[in-house]
Amino acid sequence: MTTEVTFPVQQQELQSFSKDRREPQWFTDQRLKALDQAEHLELPNPDKTKITKWNFTSFTFDPETEATASYNELSDAVRTLVGEENKVENLITQKNGITTYAAAKAELKDKGVIFTDIQTALEEHSDLMEKYFMQAVTADENKLTAAHAAMVNGGVFIYVPAGVKVEAPLQAVYAHEGNFGLFNHVLMIVEDQAEATYIENYLSEGSGDQATVNIVAEVVLGREAKVNFGSVDNFADSVTTYVNRRGQVNGEDAELYWSLGMMNDGNTVSDNTTYLHGQGSHADTKSVSIGRGSQVQNFTTNVIHFGKDTDGQILKHGVMRDRATSIFNGISKIEKGATKANGEQTERVLMLSERARGDANPILLIDEDDVTAGHAASVGRIDPLQMFYLMSRGLSRLESERLIIHGFLEPVVGALAIDSVKEQLYDLIERKVY
């Protein structure tokens, strides 16, 4: 069965949108081709979650946002996230894809680091964009990746030249408002022996309007490159989210660390895939999520080993309350020839209510003999004997639950590679669970 899914953006509109943004011809062509693909391809098919009735097409393409450049014009929510202006180092904030504030330390430019919005990157670094854009995630995968390539209207481009180690994190805050359809793209290229930390926040401002958000992040690592990628997704319940975060770990001994806080309140399909090509390369994916209300979420984490001696670690913990449903899929795939590879994964789900549903599916797909791999999974409820123990020391039922939930998430949150993401998540978890 094919459901009729038509996007509210037509060829002509897309063409003039691209022209207004002074985009290079190759990019305009790519948009138009992808729009055509988007009309014909099927929706993605996340394992165990049916998304055919989700809202991917009801949105407007008009951001209704003015470009601003002053810190004082940012919303309170955004300012809370970025801290005081004099403490801001490297930051880009956007609302509905429009840049509202940007700051970068002088050293970035001196070292040849590029940290700019996608629109500027297309004007000033068209060659780099053309080389890497939509390569880790390709337009022809499904209707939504094609839609993304066609309608991309926000995001940032990061380029760290060989040997450059960026000390201060590169931070991006993406606010979404109204029924705008946000197609946000993050492209991060980290060359040989370079290092960087990127932290992104997604949030909703205002609320109530049905909207859809389609995010792609592509991260490419050269030899001995090291990247910390942190994200906190926190869209309101009216927003349907489709997000792909992919790592191309191409270089030998490169290391990619994902710290993903999946805190959306709306329906979400989140795919996080890392390709370990470089010999001796390493991927570490840690993610936490809280489900509440009646939202349905699907979180799939893939680590695919091509290179010899590659190491992939997947650790996911989720807490489900109310009537929330979440599927946690973990796939460690070891290709033929990836000798001495090691793939390990753990998925754990804690359900707080009778009607919450959680499902953990660890999958090992191994085509090579000389490897090591392991997995663990659990889906459960709070242990009444633990509750008895904690309450017997005077802690209220609520406080005891709070400690148990905190303890359940701590092996992931406490081990995240980026302190600011850790702090934000402690805070958000506290707010979402109670």
Binding site: F388, L390, S392, R393, G394, L395, L403, F408, E410, P411
Partner: protein, 260 residues
């Protein structure tokens, strides 16, 4: 301040529809230490668990009051905040929650917003109590009971006892799994608490702990109730002669619950 008092009368408790306690009674006041002795399977842990409000145990009849209030009308945490404490025979493990965080939260559980134990006060106190119990510093930062040996779990129960300073404590087999040196250390900690404001029921099936904590009363439990009471000399006699003479005296063939 009036002395704390725990009064239990004709208590009947079942687990999974099997009656375990069959008419248990006791009165414990501040300043008193009662030893509850008895072979395995006679209902000692059932008593302790039921008084604290363990979810698996069902009180079918009888009563228990603490300082005049009906215990069975209170939630588990209310009993604790009223000053009742149970050192458990098999304490739970809670991953991801450090011992220190847990104990500090517990200390603050019955304190008002402005009256919370400060971090400094807490550290000073826990350092002192860990010194008394000869516990390694790393203990604080380990997850609550996770991967603790039997002996470590017992010490952790006593550490919590010393930190929380309850009015009435039930200690369920805190001596099992402890060697003689550890036993002395734990006894020292408990003896520190002995005042008129503190009452205690020490559950054990060996006499040896009582060499270091002298009880005021000794009760023998069989078949889910107290079958004999006396002073410290009763414990001595049990140590020398075992339990058989009591069984003979009372005509009990099998002292455990459910077999009679």
């Amino acid at each position: 301040m009036t002395k704390p008092s725990l009064n239990v009368k004709d208590l009947h408790v079942s687990i999974e529809d099997k009656e375990i306690l069959k008419g248990f009674g006791i009165d414990v006041k501040g300043g008193e230490i009662h030893a509850i002795m008895g072979p395995n399977g006679t209902g000692k842990s059932t008593l302790a668990s039921a008084l604290m409000g363990h979810p698996n145990y069902e009180v079918t009849s009888g009563e228990a009051t603490f300082n005049g209030d009906d215990l069975f009308e209170m939630e588990v945490d209310e009993r604790a905040r009223a000053g009742l404490f149970l050192a458990m025979q098999y304490p739970s493990e809670v991953s991801g929650v450090t011992n220190a965080d847990f104990i500090r939260s517990a200390m603050n559980a019955d304190r008002e917003e402005g009256d919370q134990v400060s971090l400094m006060q807490f550290i000073r106190k826990i350092d002192e109590k860990m010194g008394t119990l000869e516990i390694d510093q790393s203990f604080q930062h380990r997850y609550l009971n996770e991967g603790f040996s039997g002996g470590e779990k017992k010490r952790n129960e006593i550490l919590q006892l010393l930190m929380l300073e309850p009015k009435m404590a039930i200690l369920d087999e805190i001596d099992s799994g402890l060697d003689i040196d550890a036993l002395k250390v734990v006894a020292k900690g408990i003896n520190q608490l002995r005042t008129d404001d503190f009452g205690c029921m020490i559950i054990t099936h060996y006499q040896r702990l009582l060499n270091y904590i002298e009880p005021d009363y000794v009760h023998v439990m069989m078949q889910g109730r107290i079958v004999k009471s006396g002073g410290p000399e009763l414990a001595q006699k049990l140590e020398e002669q075992g339990y058989d003479w009591i069984k003979e005296e009372l005509g009990i063939e099998d002292e455990t619950v459910g077999q009679e």
